[in-house]
């Protein structure tokens, strides 16, 4: 099966910032993304769990998108504008996709 090289960007961010991030990604030309719930974790800001939150705004979400490697810089610039001052993690890994024209 023919596969194509792509980049998988995973951004874990506060739920309250979700729409701001996805708006920025869309403006940067990202054609699709997936939003996943985050159940809890631990980091520089301490431990937290979804069950300990009063509202969704206090929780975290994970936004995952796959793009062609030549578009990575534009995406990261757009994402950084939003996440710079906020709690979160941005990671990039190499991956392969079947239908390159979709990314």
């Amino acid at each position: 099966m023919q596969t194509h090289k792509a980049k998988r960007v995973e951004i874990t961010i506060e739920a309250i910032m979700q729409s701001r991030l996805t708006d920025a990604l869309t403006k940067a030309g990202v054609t699709g993304y997936t939003i996943l719930p985050v159940f809890g974790g631990s980091g520089r800001s301490g431990q937290w769990s979804r069950s300990g939150q009063v509202s969704r705004a206090s929780g975290m979400v994970c936004v995952v998108c796959m793009i062609r490697p030549d578009r990575l810089d534009g995406l990261l610039d757009a994402a950084f504008e939003v996440v710079e001052r906020h709690i979160g993690v941005v990671s990039v890994v190499d991956c392969e996709v079947l239908r390159a024209e979709r990314f």
Binding site: E14, I16, M17, R20, S45, G46, Q47, W48, S49, R50, S51, G52, Q53, V54, S55, A57, S58, R85, H86, I87
Partner: protein, 326 residues
């Protein structure tokens, strides 16, 4: 004095407050008791709808008067003013930075709708009447405090970029406000006839649902206290207990000036004493992300909310009864 203590003791031993205490104790004891997220959300929607609707029906019964407008205005002024007082207290009695102090202060100018609902229930159980439009006052007091906190920060840093229009829209149209105001308007339009049609749904089960909801809130508050308690030093902890009492004094003065009923004065005290833990934390995460959320969430949810529910509400109702001769 005996009468005040007796009223306070009766309120303290009501099922809703005991359910809340059970939740806190269960969380502190690390019990695995928990509510599914969707159930908790469903209960909060039910309670907001019921309290808003009943408030609207009460206004439809008694009519709109100048006192309603003045009460709304007083609520807005208090919400703008209380963060300034909280900020001064925080800077004077705690070692918090200007940024953290402003973020905490915003919470104490805004309100906790759950505390308000619990207080309304306590008043109903005690047979103390209150103005139905206090629901609208509660909604009006949600947002101004956030502007006060942002003003405190921009004044110190010459930074006016904190409040963007999108954030303002999110604050003004947050789900709780839309549901509360919307059901209040529906209750006002449909009046007693509307209430008669859905009474079996929004009146009879109300206390039972509130008990379960407060049990869940007790679990959340207890977990918050357990996880965030370590970040709080004695100064902020003392503030979390003193500030609601200070706020309630302003609410008492406003209620008496407005000539509200005993229940109305008590609710104005509760609103002024309570601290937000839903709308304001979300706004602070967007506008002041550098402020430490562990401090303001633990204070408002883990310290002030339990204080108000267990000791505050009985105290405010007792003081309001004494001050109005009710």
């Amino acid at each position: 004095m005996d009468q005040i203590l007796s009223l306070a003791a009766t309120n303290l031993l009501s099922p809703i407050i005991l359910c809340f205490a059970l939740g806190v104790l269960a969380a502190l004891a690390r019990s695995d008791l928990s509510f599914p997220e969707a159930v908790a959300k469903g209960m909060s929607i039910y309670l907001l709808f019921a309290i808003g609707f009943k408030g609207g029906v009460s206004v439809a019964d008694h009519g709109i008067d100048a006192r309603l407008a003045l009460s709304l205005l007083a609520g807005i002024v208090l919400s703008f003013l209380l963060p300034l007082i909280a900020f001064a207290l925080l800077r004077g009695m705690t070692g918090l930075s200007r940024l953290d102090a402003a973020a905490v202060a915003a919470h104490y100018g805004s309100i906790s709708i759950v505390t308000f609902v619990a207080a309304t229930s306590v008043l109903e159980s005690s047979g103390i009447a209150s103005e139905g439009y206090m629901v609208a006052v509660a909604a009006a007091m949600e947002a101004p405090a956030i502007l006060s906190a942002l003003w405190l920060i921009s004044r110190g840093q010459g930074d006016g970029r904190r409040m963007d229009p999108e954030l303002m829209r999110e604050i003004m149209l947050n789900g709780s406000i839309v549901l509360l105001v919307g059901s209040f308007v529906i209750g006002g339009i449909t009046g007693a006839d509307g209430l008669a049609r859905i009474e079996s749904f929004i009146v009879s089960p109300f206390q039972g649902v509130l008990c379960l909801f407060l049990l869940d809130m007790g679990l959340v508050a207890g977990r918050g206290l357990r996880e965030g308690g370590a970040v709080l030093r004695p100064g902020p902890l003392v503030f979390g207990v003193i500030m609601p009492v200070v706020g309630s004094a302003f609410g008492l003065a406003a209620g008496l000036l407005l000539g509200l009923s005993t229940g109305g004065v008590a609710l104005m005290m509760v609103l002024s004493a309570s601290a937000s833990y839903i709308a304001v934390p979300a706004a602070m995460r967007v506008a002041l992300p550098e402020a430490n959320p562990s401090i303001y969430l633990t204070l408002s949810l883990g310290v002030t909310f339990p204080f108000n529910l267990t000791l505050g509400i009985p105290l405010y109702v007792a003081v309001a009864s004494f001050a109005t001769g009710g």
